[in-house]
Subunit: 225 residues, 4 copies
DNA sequence: AATGAATGAGCCTTCATTCAT
DNA sequence: GATGAATGAAGGCTCATTCAT
């Protein structure tokens, strides 16, 4: 156990210094950004000496990159995306994809990790390459594959735009939640839980592709049937 | 306008110090963020004394807020949103709305102002209230009004989600362009110009609402006719 | 007066911040070396804010270079080296040269400046170029000129070596005083004041060149006659 | 020797950690000074754990002192100064002394050790006592003895000054080589090899004491014959 | 109205050192 | 005997801000 290994940890008793730094860094970068976060604060929260960041990560930037990597590892196991069985029809694959993506975006547990990744995506910088390569791109191509199956005759630009329409709908809840709450009130936005959003986005999307009844036609149950 | 809000600033007389500071601040905040931008750099670029920011805006934060306001004033005259004639059918209103929004998001001219506003939206803070009140909220309610006309029977949460689906599709191009280019290449993303995106989002949305043929059914011409 | 110009000097009342920094830096670098001296300490001694060094000199290294320049300016006005009248015989020129150099090396007033310069000479680095160009080289060439006049037939290497013999004798008192005192005691070394050393070096050198009676032959009076 | 002085060090067994640390420390201190050298760097170069310095020498300062001692042990076996046979005439003793000293100062082999010692001499501090006692003082007194034999009637201060004139000439080449090269060019200074310098200093000195023809009188051969 | 020298808090980093193993 | 993760003081420097002019 890493737990029994620590020699003289001063404050916390969770994982080792490096791990605690990673957690604390993730949180700090997530809600203050790279420039806004301070090494001092991160160390204090991690219960680690101020020299710890340089020691373990070579500096603030090193910690940032590792924190983003860690975030993607934590929050986004794309691998356990429930790979649909071979014969699964594409429509079902799309349903699953949407359900999974929405779930991720609404997961309250990984909020911190998610926020950090979103920040890096909105303003790609130090760690963008890693996030894109290991996390974003696979998902993007998975979606494109599904859509290609569904729309074999569509030209490339429109296929891309279609993918963006799907992803755009889902991402919106992550990227614009605070503003949405400011406009419509927290309660109204909170009402849109993962289940409702999954249903809605699935129905909206399938209808747009001619694979389901349009939104508004039959009251609910747009997700499965 | 902004003139009446100044606390203790000197008379503005054209491309004066205050104005240059506003421009320079807008640019700096847009591409480095609040923490990343420095007062010194902004003053240097504006050709203004280093004390200028404190003098004219009371401090860095003051300049930031004014810069965001200025950005919304510049880039987002929601007023000249071509108010459709009274009798316009809702579908047409939605078409116009989408066209206008996409145009704004793709406008290369107001890139700086747009970037600054997007930043503030992604991480609402110091100036979020102003942006939301004066720029975002009117648009959001306009869209909701249109959708309510189109879907009179839909319950509130689903109406909200539908609005988010429309806006999410459009915003995606602003909020995720750099990452998209990283994934699919700049060329592929650049191919999605305002016209194509307008067509696509309009078709996708109308189809989702049962007001147009689904995406992929007939080759193109989903936008105008 | 620079004296009346200071707006809000916190502690001292001498020259302005920049000047005080220069003095304090000179002292600190002189007796602790570049690495040993700290900006904080220098600022404290100068009664200047800690940001003063960066502000006025761009950083520690900038202050160092300026301090060395300042030292040479202060301690070594080679210009007022009493230029001998045109017809002065070379022997007299050499006498004057030695007297002047010894005087400089023994001057207790400019000890700090001298120490700083010696340090930089012993381990030429950041400011060596300046010191050599503006201070050392002119002196070196002046001496070589005098010796060339005295020894027209000597080959270059030996002329150089002769110059080094003259300078080496004089420099010794600056470069090795502390060690000398450790060996022979402070009293014995202090007994060698500027006058005695001038006499001695002059006699030793002139005798070596066959221009005076050898050391030890007649008790004293080796300097002038 | 140094072995009996260690406070709490482990048994030394050849090119062990302790020895490698000593070598690495010597090199680092020689060309960066005490403050400029870092324990980390020294340990890395010695292939020793970072705690090695504290462990073996009690700290950085301890290593420094031992390194200087080591340097004097390595580079300056004053013992094998070829003690002249009892009846050797003083002039010959002086010749030998000069030859030996110049040889030491020009020895390229012991450059590191020499540089370290020179540094400590120029700015006597932590290890000055040791160097002076074991290395410098014996030489100084040897020279004084020789000069006393040659100049039995000279008063003490002048005798001291005479010794300084001899040593000053020789030391110059060690203490001011870099600056000399800056002024006259590396080639010109390199031309002054040990042989030429020995010849020159010997001739210059003996002539100054009335024991040889003056410099410049007969072309060369002032050193040996 | 506008300046810019000066401020002091706070930044990230590096240092020699320690201590449980 | 030797290790290396962890320490905490101190390093140089940058920041937004102030104030006498």
């Amino acid at each position: 156990m890493a737990r029994t290994r620590r020699p003289a940890a001063p404050a916390a008793d969770g994982p080792d210094a490096r791990g605690r730094l990673l957690e604390a860094g993730q949180a700090a970068f997530a809600d203050r950004g790279f420039d806004g976060a301070t090494v001092r604060d991160i160390c204090r929260r991690a219960g680690v000496n101020i020299a710890g960041v340089t020691y373990h990560f070579g500096g603030k930037e090193g910690l940032y990159v590792e924190a983003v990597k860690h975030a993607h590892t934590c929050a986004a196991r794309m691998n356990d995306f429930p790979a649909p069985p071979p014969g699964t029809p594409p429509v079902e694959k799309l349903r699953v994809f949407i359900r999974e993506m929405v779930a991720r975006m609404h997961a309250p547990a990984s909020t911190t990790a998610m926020k950090l990744m979103m920040r890096e995506m909105a303003d790609p910088g130090r760690a963008a390459g890693v996030v894109v390569d290991e996390f974003i791109r696979p998902v993007a191509f998975a979606l494109r594959g599904i859509l290609r199956e569904l729309l074999p005759g569509l030209d490339e630009p429109r296929l891309l735009a279609t993918g963006f329409s799907v992803i755009g709908q889902i991402l919106f809840y992550r990227q614009n939640r605070p503003v949405s709450e400011l406009i419509f009130g927290k309660a109204a936005v909170d009402a849109l839980d993962a289940g409702l959003v999954t249903d809605h986005v699935t129905r909206f999307t399938l209808a747009a592709l001619g694979l389901a009844e349009p939104v508004g036609s039959s009251p609910r149950r747009g997700g499965t049937a």
